[in-house]
């Protein structure tokens, strides 16, 4: 029997699903932009980058739809099915997001050794399965992965010294911060609200960075 766990204060229901859907749209735009480069060059790194943001898109969509269903925003889900919706929706969100973040770490740190990549993926298994709280493990692992990606984007900004690179760095810094705020959710429901807002601002900055590259 799965216990359905709704997050955040009741007045925030709907807003969280909308902000997550907003993140999905921006992640999709980044994936499309990366796909354009991949189609020209055929290089693996662009394919992985496209894949990473495509996985993020799917992950956010799964979360947005699940939240909207559980908060009875779209349709009223029968009480016998809420457990299943919660389980499949959140498990998809967690697995897809972790795979996406890990791919981002691999790309940004230019890890090419297959054994190291396999090791990173395998360490996720005990990290998730042996944990007392899937959410804490997920947000903890996400924060670590995103912190590594952020560090790489900081170095990239220092190398290229471009406004768009700076925006990407700030966006990932905010995304890392949002994962830490999600971790604190159990302390107070307002952390959930601030985490969603920080995440949305992070994606907004990412959108500005993308627009800046497109209209250059």
């Amino acid at each position: 029997m799965v216990t359905v766990q709704l997050h955040g204060p009741a007045w925030f229901f709907g807003a969280d699903a909308s902000l997550t859907a907003f993140a999905a749209v921006i992640a999709f735009c980044v994936a499309v932009a990366a796909l354009r480069v991949y189609r020209v060059t055929g290089e693996k790194k662009y394919a992985f980058f496209t894949g990473s943001f495509a996985l993020l898109t799917l992950s956010y969509l799964a979360r947005a739809v699940t939240d909207a269903l559980l908060e009875q925003l779209i349709i009223t889900v029968p009480s016998t099915m809420t457990g299943m919706v919660f389980y499949f929706g959140y498990v998809s969100h967690i697995l897809l997001a972790l795979a996406a973040y890990l791919l981002l770490v691999i790309i940004t740190h230019k890890i090419t050794d297959v054994r190291v990549i396999l090791l990173l993926f395998l360490t996720l298994i005990p990290g998730m399965l042996l944990s007392g709280s899937y959410f804490l493990s997920f947000y903890g692992l996400s924060a670590i992965f995103l912190a590594f990606v952020t560090f790489s984007y900081y170095q990239n900004y220092r190398n290229v010294c471009k406004a768009a690179a700076c925006m990407v760095f700030i966006a990932f810094l905010l995304l890392t911060l949002s994962q830490v705020q999600f971790l604190l959710e159990s302390l107070h429901a307002y952390w959930y609200v601030s985490a969603h807002i920080t995440q949305a601002v992070g994606y907004l900055v990412l959108l500005f960075a993308l627009l800046r590259t497109l209209f250059k």
């Binding site: 480069v37 060059t41 768009a164 690179a165 960075a209």
Partner: protein, 88 residues
């Protein structure tokens, strides 16, 4: 600084465009600053992606820039900015 694949493709297509949309292999080799072997690999890929066309004019082999190739030259700056911004 080492050229990326994106830069090399741009240099080749830009060289063709600068020559009025058609170029002979010797000039392309000189302009793209590649070895003969590597240039052949790139040419095969560009032909496959319909960015250039191979033709014979007065018995001479020439490479012509296609509409897709022109589109790439126009969009190169955007793609370059994107790859730099995301550290790719």
């Amino acid at each position: 600084m080492k050229r990326t694949k994106l830069d090399i493709v741009y240099d080749m297509l830009r060289a063709i465009e600068d020559k009025g949309g058609r170029i002979i292999p010797t000039h392309l080799l000189y302009k793209s600053n590649l070895s003969h072997q590597r240039m052949k690999l790139y040419l095969d890929e560009l032909k496959q992606k319909s960015m250039i066309q191979e033709a014979r004019e007065n018995g001479k082999l020439v490479y012509k820039l296609t509409d897709d190739g022109r589109k790439f030259v126009q969009n190169y700056k955007q793609m370059k900015e994107f790859t730099q911004a995301f550290g790719l």
